[in-house]
């Protein structure tokens, strides 16, 4: 990829990241942290790509470990965030 394109994506993403959470109330700090935590679980995509590239047993072993860890991060993260937020929903009844 063009270096300039990468820098642009990076800088714009930084500003979007700043902007979307800048006014969050302290009530939602924990679920937001947990949700953001789940989003970086998308490293699972990277783990699958390197598992596909793996040529030696060492590489494959490390990629398998990465996939397991990333899956825990992603799936566990979204499930736990949903559980936190489920309780907010019950409140409105």
């Amino acid at each position: 990829m063009e270096p300039m394109a990468i820098v642009s994506i990076f800088v714009l993403s930084v500003f979007v990241g700043f902007e979307v959470v800048s006014k969050v109330s302290s009530t939602l700090h924990t679920p937001l942290m947990s949700g953001a935590n789940a989003i970086h679980g998308v490293i699972l995509v990277g783990a699958i790509i390197v598992a596909d590239h793996s040529e030696t047993n060492l590489e494959l072993g490390l990629s398998v470990a990465a996939i397991i860890l990333a899956t825990i991060n992603m799936v566990g993260g979204f499930v736990v965030t949903d559980r936190m937020l489920e309780m907010f929903k019950g409140n409105k009844k």
Binding site: H29, H40, I43, V45, I72
Partner: protein, 463 residues
């Protein structure tokens, strides 16, 4: 599937993540936001299996291993997330963050091994960054997990010449990082990973218990940045976008949390080096306290006009949220004005108490934030502090040099009467003695919060 379609779907996932963060910032849209994020992540994962280019052909190599590993991750992750109790949620988030950082570091290491001599300098630099920060996030998160789970002391761990050891380790990490970039080799990279793991441990050990949530948030932002860097290494726009979003929003969130606790980020991370333990009142000193019975508490409440309930971690531990609501409803039926005073960092994480009370269907309008409720303690007859300590400790305002000095507190000391529900005289998470316990207008009710509250409820009903 060709590259354009693949990239477009990746872009859609990136947009889903932005909408997810946006949704999570408002109570009404939070749950939907999380589901949108999960959808984006699921979509991005699925698409990888259908994309082929000059480097990979379909079906993916090692497909069995990949699917098996995902299954193992699901079997571990889902039950852990579903079964965890509300009290243990913060440490689970810390653990999930840590494994994410570990995964990013492993991905970078594998790609580095795989590329060998073909790696460009830029790729090696980003690999080094990912390995360092990912390993720091991994080992640091494990330490925060152990602190929150109370597998180790929650107090700052300070050892002789600690700051020199930490600084030395950091210099070594950077030095070896430079060595990897110039020399290119597996051994230097593994040494780098080892040193980074060590640095992560040393970095978190001196952080005091009450500051741990801020560190979790910071490590979360770190992991985001490592994911972005590995996105560069793997030429994946999606990983760059997702990682950068988390890195940026995580940084803001860390700052917001630090502000809510009245600390500078710098002070949190390096405060342990400057704190003078002798400024804190000696723990264990025998001093008279006034303890009461549930009947005494019920009588006090029965004749009050305004009562403020201040929940803390003890409420979560005792799972007393339903009982406390029962007490509040009973008082309201007697015409008493009842509010909950919510400290932003009561419990083990910001918003912990809101989540807990929401579970017991406590109406939103009874929850008052710190600034709002602090103006009313002067007119409050009784403040009931349930399993909270540090967030009401006046030492934060009166004792410069104590570890929580400067943290905004709920000023229950202005209320006419204070009731502390406590298990024992042990100090709070930050390990600081609370002068308020010895105040003549304070009454202590010892015991498990749920059992005590149940007794108070029946005593109040009998009146």
């Amino acid at each position: 599937m060709n590259r354009t379609v693949y990239d477009l779907i990746g872009l859609a996932a990136g947009v889903a993540f932005i909408l997810a963060l946006k949704g999570l910032s408002h109570p009404k849209t939070a749950r939907r936001g999380n589901l949108i994020g999960a959808f984006g992540a699921g979509l991005a994962t699925l698409v990888v299996f259908f994309y082929s280019n000059e480097k990979s052909s379909l079906p993916l190599n090692n497909l069995g291993w990949i699917l098996g590993a995902i299954a193992v991750g699901l079997v571990i992750g889902v039950p852990a997330a579903r079964k965890v109790q509300m009290t243990q949620m913060p440490q689970l988030v810390a653990l999930f963050n840590g494994v994410g950082g570990g995964a990013a570091a492993l991905v970078a290491i594998v790609e580095y091994l795989n590329l060998g001599d073909q790696a460009t300098t830029a790729v090696v630099v980003f690999t080094v960054f990912t390995v360092i920060v990912g390993c720091v996030s991994f080992s640091g998160s494990i330490i925060t997990f152990m602190k929150l789970q109370e597998l180790m002391t929650t107090r700052p761990v300070i050892f002789p010449a600690g700051r020199f050891i930490i600084a030395g380790t950091l210099i070594a990490v950077i030095g070896v990082g430079g060595w990897v970039v110039t020399a290119l080799g597996t051994t230097p990279l593994l040494i780098l990973a080892g040193l980074s793991l060590l640095f992560g441990i040393l970095f978190v050990l001196p952080v005091g218990g009450a500051d741990v949530p801020i560190v979790i948030s910071l490590l979360n932002a770190f992991t985001g940045l490592t994911v972005a860097a590995s996105g560069y290494v793997l030429d994946s726009t999606l990983l760059i976008i997702a990682g950068t979003l988390v890195g940026a929003s995580g940084t803001i969130l860390t700052r917001l949390m630090a502000e809510a606790m009245g600390r500078s980020l710098f002070g949190t991370l390096f405060g342990a080096f400057t704190a003078k333990p002798q400024d804190v009142a000696a723990v264990g000193e025998e001093r008279p306290v006034r303890s009461g019975s549930p009947d005494d508490v019920a009588i006090l409440l029965n004749y009050a006009r305004r009562v403020v309930i201040v929940p803390g971690f003890g409420l979560a531990v005792a799972q007393a949220q339903h009982t406390v609501r029962e007490l509040a409803d009973l008082m309201i039926s007697k015409g008493i004005d009842v509010a909950y005073g919510i400290h932003p960092v009561a419990g083990r994480m910001p918003g912990h108490m809101n989540v807990l009370l929401a579970e017991a269907n406590v109406p939103y309008d009874q929850l008052q934030e710190m600034d709002e409720v602090n103006t009313t303690f002067g007119q409050t007859d009784v403040a009931i502090v349930i399993g909270a300590n540090d967030v009401v400790n006046p030492a934060a305002q009166t004792t410069p040099g104590c570890p929580i000095y400067g943290m905004p507190i709920l000023e229950v000391n202005h209320a006419a009467n204070i009731i502390f529900l406590k298990r024992s005289m042990r100090p709070g998470f930050a390990g600081i003695e609370n002068e308020l316990l010895y105040d003549p207008k304070t009454m202590l009710l010892f015991g498990d919060a749920k059992a005590s509250l149940t007794k108070v409820v029946s005593a109040l009903k009998a009146l």
